[in-house]
Symmetry: C2
Subunit: 232 residues, 2 copies
């Protein structure tokens, strides 16, 4: 058994910050599966063309190629059913899917306004140019303008996080007493910010920060030890 995964890399190839790749790496670690990551950049679409799409993570497991962080989680639970479950029931998986979509549709946009200008600086120059041009075309403004009202953007993040904060205070993890894949779906967003941007987005005593700290420490500090583009 030898698992390999294409993983978005920054200018420093040790810096890995894709929220989707972090979901997959945490899911693999939860299953106790070692993975060799292959640094990949936005402009290297040819190297993953064999997967039939243009995004990472791409997981290679023997003859199998699996793309998309959610599909990877389902694949791991199905293929490695004798290892700790990422979701312990169909209902947990369905609710986890809602949480994944909440993260992507509400949390990621709230975070991107706070970190996207930093991300450009964290990327390899060729990737940075591609990233800036494609995003600015989509937004219709410069990334700096998009990020300008930082105080307002921090307030919007605070509002966005209210349900997460409020539920973690009661349940500990989105998975309950222990983390499951629903936690990793949201962890990816904060690890994306941590590894690719300057400054802190959460107060240290925020229940979300406390939860994130526990997830960073999991799997012998897999998240905590990850190199950051702009170390604190």
């Amino acid at each position: 058994m030898s698992l390999r995964m294409y993983d978005l890399a920054g200018a420093d190839s040790a810096v890995r910050f894709s929220p989707y790749c972090w979901r997959a790496k945490m899911a693999l670690a939860h299953k106790g599966l070692a993975v060799e990551t292959i640094p990949w950049r936005f402009t290297e679409k040819d190297s993953i063309a064999f997967s039939g799409q243009e995004r990472v993570p791409v997981l290679l497991d023997g003859e199998n190629t699996v793309t998309d962080s959610w599909n990877i989680a389902l694949y791991l639970d199905e293929t490695y059913g004798d290892r700790p479950a990422l979701f312990d029931s169909e209902a947990a998986r369905a609710a986890g899917f809602f949480i994944k979509r909440w993260a992507e549709l509400h949390l990621h946009p709230a975070l991107v306004r706070l970190i996207v200008a930093d991300i450009v600086d964290a990327l390899d120059p060729v990737d940075g140019t591609y990233f800036r041009e494609s995003r600015e075309a989509a937004l219709g403004m410069t990334l700096e303008d998009y990020c300008r009202a930082r105080d307002d953007n921090l307030k919007a993040l605070d509002v966005c996080l209210a349900p997460l904060r409020s539920s973690l205070k009661v349940t500990g993890f989105l998975g309950g007493l222990a983390p499951n894949c629903a936690d990793y779906m949201v962890f990816g967003a904060f690890q994306w910010a941590r590894c690719s941007s300057r400054g802190e987005l959460l107060r240290p005593d925020d229940p979300v920060a406390l939860w994130f700290g526990k997830l960073l420490a999991l799997f012998e500090g897999l998240g905590a030890e990850a190199p950051r583009a702009f170390p604190a």
Copy 2:
């Protein structure tokens, strides 16, 4: 076994629209438990003072008094473990709690801007006066002013619903292939709007509307048959 529940009633005592009471009624029906509801109004706090708090639902089960829609769900799964589970695992329950808090902190505020002026008209006059005065004091404006920008408020609801819409398209229910208590936590919000307000908030082909229609039909049309203050 004889279950009774205090349930918020409108000017017409057959009209019941509390989102929290609807959660509890759907949870009871899911367990196959019959309940006798007792109409209750906001200004009748004395009649439920025995419960140690001032809100409905209040469930009476023999010697037991249980308040709060979430606590009622947990109580039912614990007490009636031989009946269909509201949550089939601890992880499903924890994720369901996040969904409950999302409904309360993001969905309810998006809905209330669209329905609160109607709610006053649906309430018993004494309750309506209490409700208007207490809410207007909290908001610092009239309810009509609060609801004024209906088109903007519909757009905000649409944005709020994006994760729900997107996940229901894939999973069918928040509980997966069949509804569970996570669905009822969100159902309450839409049934609140349906029973207390004028007009439609969702397009008929919206995946959220299709999901809501399936939930209305459950339990021999418990939700669908419920009297509305302003029938379509």
